[in-house]
Subunit: 444 residues, 4 copies
């Protein structure tokens, strides 16, 4: 994951530190709030190598602050526990060895209480650095703290998606948050929003925070294109399935077709055929009937791409997935709206913890931010002129720029203030345990 | 695991039920005592497919009583929780589906408290059946309860070996029981005890409990043979290693040599080369220096066999592993001694939780029972005339009689009253996480 | 594979060498005759790691004579090609490195012509050693030559079974020998032949050749038992299948049930469901309809064992597979008959290259030798007092005595003069590409 | 692989057919010439799933003409052998089933002679369609024949690289063509050639043949950049290795670092450490010493990328791999030169069958075409507005546009008249058995 871009200003004002301290307390508290419904056992277990235990998430984000901030900027630094340096290092070779990723769930000690004590200790020490009466911190330290908060927000989303996966493995179908049903609507029809393209700019602009992979802002030439006004729905996906979509090689990338057959895939990740002939879906609210007007989520890039090819044949249109540049160029003007709420922004803050349908009456591009991460057709690659930062945080993003695909927009598990138009999420083509979704594009 | 042989007597006396009730309470309490040093997280995790979480062990042995006894013999039986029937079924196809073995550690709910409540509820219900004022139970029910207690004792041993494996995966090297060092002795020399062989009988005799795989008692012809007076020691094993034992194909079975090379095996399972040039061993007491006079444990059949071939070349004698008939014929007269204590019987009851060295001055066959399970050269197979019982408990033993090897004697993790001369333990050739040990035999 | 036992007589007569020379020429010619129907491409390819290319078989058996006989006993020995020492070494660590087994098929050079030239050169040199006017060879050399001939006969059988497997992978279903249909009969009914058992002797007796694993002859105690008069037939196997035999866990060993499900096994190895609703079988004669009265072959130990358990339930008898001691004790008196021909001995010499049905009118134990190797319930283990020979040929048998099962009797691909009552063949429980068959036994 | 773009002209002239017929004979003969040094066994074997047997290549390219041209355009078409339709189909689901790719080497029948007869028969039938006195063919047929010839040229290159891999598995190190040493030079120094970038066009232009993935020609915006004047050399690669390049995670993509460690990679694919302390390389000329000034080949994208990062640190420059647009924009003006010969074009036609060093005195961008395929940093993706053709040939390219990386320029195994500036080759990041090479780029 990404790395802080240095603030423009090399000077630090007391108010900046104060604001940061307040934000620090808010973000750190939010992690605990998300873990609150979990038992100690829930926090301990790793259900697959891609996922991590909730306890590990809580410890690792704390390790980030201890190792990358306190260790360098706290006078007289001493480690909370020297063993944690290896135990809770995710993938930073620049910092040293790492406990093997598939074995994160085997670390039953330190237990949850010790990890929570670790969090409290690091919080106190970091807030002391940010206190009004403390010596001013260099801008680099402030940037690293801000990076650490965005890093923690990324792990908040992973904590939720990893718990969802864990619970999905339990035949008792545990419920993380019992708030079903969410809402029913008269759904908005699928329509197309045109864009002229041309020589456009994408990438992060302005003074706000961004990860290093969002820079530099640069020019790209886009042919005219159209985007679907909303995400593909479960109803549409059921039509794809009913038409034999998972059994017809015509729609699939070669690697996708191998994946479908070897993994015996026949529906989105958490869907289950009920004895009642209906499809059910395992969610953070437990096992619920598939709602037709809700965006389909938990599909791989392979499925998203196959769906687009099938839809193209259905509609007789050159449908496909959008590129990330097309997405960003179209979505950037609407970013401020997303901060103002549904339907533009169903984030973790809404408490739905599930994608939501959009009702008739809304116009323009809907569901751009929040609900589900939208697969693009763009491989994750460095922008022209990209420079990873020096130091261990240079490993945050750059070394993953191969064999992964960019997703855009955010999901119902993403914090609202963590989202922006230039944000580049990325996962392998077969990943499905995130809230991944599909928005169609079309050549104009 | 094994199946009850019907008691000789079809009638049941109140005192038999009373004795059984007392034993039931003792054995059930012992499981809880073994789990007492563990945190909820420790109880939750499965460190490899062969192992099971402590919580699962506690639930499964309870499931055994509920499903095989209460369900059939309790008037008006209702399940404690219908989902447990699948969730805590180990491998009984006769009872129905099973939760997949490698996913036992993913079941974070029911949590430990619910499992303990499950234990208490089943205890109460089962003790009610055995109460003095209850209607007499049929002999079959009593036999199944007794089987269930031996079954639980087997899982007590597994609980310990599985926790040892789990803790061994944690770089912090957690300690289950801090009682090191145990004892140091002037060790007894290796010597040989002769047996004449001939047409002997092996297999369970008498009225006591035995698993079905120990019957029927039958004749075997044995050529004259000799057994080592004690188990192979760490000191002797270090000599094997120093002589390049793990790198020389001459000593190894073909499958063993493949295993050594593909797994990069160079020492017993829990041994670690210290920075100080010494070998250390991870134990239930934590990481401790390898004690030279203690029996080597945590070796596979492949290692045991290779060691025997190497020792044969060293001694210029036809050394090998004993057959199970040789072992039983020699060990049977000493079974009563083993019940009386060390050195004949270092069981879980001694609290050592580790094999112990034997001091000079002891004569005859030592360490036969307890300390470590002794690999034999006998494949696990049915005795002539073997009949698995009807019903689900017929799956306890019979279906594993292929591609496994018999071990004899018991270990430091075995309950004392669970051991007898005819007991047949069995594991695959590559298994090392049990307290497995080596006693040499020799053609006379 | 096995190792020569030294001849009783330390002295060698000219006539012994002459007899051996004649036999040498016969056996060597037979290998070429078996390869004659194969193209160069057929001889080159390895269809799975367990199988070897025909070219490799032809070279390896020659390597055996060159390396184990010429290298030690030919004055002024020089290797035919030094690279062959590694290239055609199968598994003799005592001789040095081996080309990796799964890559035998990648050695396109030397080509077939060079391998045939290698054979001719070694033949000439070895026959020169055996010539009437040559200096007498030590008895050890003669024993090694005899061992080499039995070794070559084993590879003749493997050459056929490996070609059968290779051709079975080709959708064009190539025919090795077009001689179908073979014969139809009024089949003999299944009946039982009683044996008293008691303290019997098994193992090789007399002066003839035997592999080291057949010795020493020793006593075993057998309870009374019965053997089926003939092998299980395809008709009987179809009844097992029709009764859901492959889908019912009751009949299966635990490891067998795993194997059936993970490999999706539903019939013997080379059986294929025809579009006509019948079962077809791929044979050395091509794809032919399954003949009901022919013995079933190409079944694993798991299938053989499951069939026996199912048959036991069908017949209400304690049916099972025989032990190797039971088999040998019953079969030894009939060995001489087998040398005289069908029905006792359908070997490679009959040219059927397929098991044959037995007609009504024959009495006693039928099909003991030839037709199909009969799975026993005996794990492959050393006999009491077994000593592997010194030197590289000590690796022939001993190091495979683990996790394999003994088969007895020979098959339609075995040379007649290679068979005897004490012969112990062995394969892993899941192996099916040999002509493996099933004879039921029963407790008396 | 790619698909023909329809010719502009719907009409066909006799001379066009005549020219095509001549070219057809030339290309078809070239395939046989490349296979001439191979034995029947060499032609039969598949050394890994990614590779194919030479016999299969010879048959598959013939299948292409039979199935995609004759079947549609030959009056009274009858298949040469109906079984070939499945047997020699590579991956066209639109045509039907395919023989499993990893089992191509098991098809020993039809043998090589039959495949050569298949070639001759199809050649005759196709040339008859193109004969002067034949009825005119539709433009689509001519386009498919031209596509088939480019397809065959792609397989000519694969035939060579697959034979190289096969021979590399043979410890006898067979030689395909003994022509070593090739040439020694005073090597040209590394220098940089500047390009201004801006809004450029890439993609196929003009009337000549191109695969569908090269279209449509479209605009891209490029920042100013520089390209290395030549490919990275073995000398430079040895410096990377000597500096610990394969052991330092700083230089590697995350997936590349996993690959290096799990595969134990420490040098380019065919390099071997000699007993003499030098590095040797296995080539089509056998095992030869690594020449310092020759371009390094047989490296994966992971290695190419790591090398670029290491070189950046060495030079203190923002070095990286070029994008495919940068490469094409710079290379397009030099395409005509490449057709005129070395140093611009070391193709299969030169007979070197190995990359060659460039001597001092040459200026500008060297080795752009031929020698080695140059890894770019561009994921293989559709160009804006890309349309795969209708029909089975639509599977040629489109379905592979995921998780692969574009390579540009051609290699010493590529036919000269098969190369052009817009050609897009593609392989997975870990592929090394092609002649893959490295040209550095730099931000201006």
């Amino acid at each position: 994951m990404p790395q802080a871009r240095p603030h423009a200003s090399p000077v630090r004002s007391a108010s900046a530190a104060g604001t940061l301290a307040a934000r620090f307390e808010t973000v750190r508290a939010q992690s605990l709030a998300l873990a609150a419904p979990l038992s100690e056992a829930d926090c301990q277990v790793q259900s697959m190598p891609d996922a991590s235990p909730a306890k590990w998430h809580l410890a690792h984000v704390t390790w980030f602050f201890e190792t990358l901030v306190l260790e360098r900027f706290e006078p007289g630094f001493a480690p909370h526990d020297p063993a944690y340096r290896v135990l809770f290092n995710s993938y930073y070779n620049g910092i040293g060895e790492q406990h093997p990723r598939p074995q994160r769930g085997l670390i039953t000690r330190p237990d949850l209480a010790e990890v929570l004590a670790y969090r409290r200790a690091v919080d106190e020490r970091l807030l002391a650095l940010l206190a009004d009466d403390a010596p001013p911190l260099p801008a680099e330290a402030l940037a690293l703290i801000e990076l650490g908060l965005h890093h923690e927000q990324q792990h908040q989303e992973l904590l939720l998606t990893d718990v969802l996966h864990l619970f999905s493995c339990n035949p008792l179908a545990p419920v993380y948050q019992p708030r079903w049903p969410l809402q029913t609507v008269q759904p908005v029809d699928l329509s197309w929003v045109d864009h002229h393209g041309g020589l456009v700019e994408i990438g992060h602009a302005g003074d706000g925070f961004a990860f290093d992979n969002e820079a530099p802002r640069h020019r790209q030439f886009l042919a005219p294109y159209r985007l679907a006004n909303r995400l593909a729905t479960n109803h549409e996906w059921l039509a794809f399935m009913a038409d034999g979509g998972y059994r017809d090689p015509r729609w699939w990338l070669s690697a996708g077709w191998d994946w479908v057959r070897t993994q015996s895939v026949r529906a989105p990740l958490y869907w289950r055929a009920g004895d009642d002939g209906r499809w059910w879906s395992f969610t953070l609210h437990g096992l619920v009937p598939v709602d037709p007007h809700t965006p389909v989520t938990h599909v791989s890039l392979y499925e998203a791409d196959a769906y687009a090819r099938w839809a193209a044949a259905q509609h007789g249109l050159p449908l496909r997935l959008p590129t990330e540049a097309e997405w960003e160029h179209a979505a950037a003007p609407l970013a401020a709206d997303a901060q103002r709420g549904i339907p533009a922004g169903n984030f973790v803050d809404t408490g739905a913890l599930h994608p939501l349908p959009v009702a008739q009456g809304h116009e323009g591009l809907l569901q751009l931010y929040g609900d589900g991460w939208e697969w693009t057709s763009s491989a994750y690659a460095p922008y022209p002129g990209f420079r990873p930062n020096a130091g261990a945080v240079g490993e945050y993003n750059a070394k993953f720029m191969c064999d992964q695909t960019v997703l855009r927009g955010g999901s119902c598990a993403t914090p609202r203030d963590h989202v922006r138009a230039s944000y580049r999420n990325f996962f392998p083509s077969s990943a499905r345990w995130q809230f991944t979704a599909v928005r169609l594009a079309c050549d104009a």
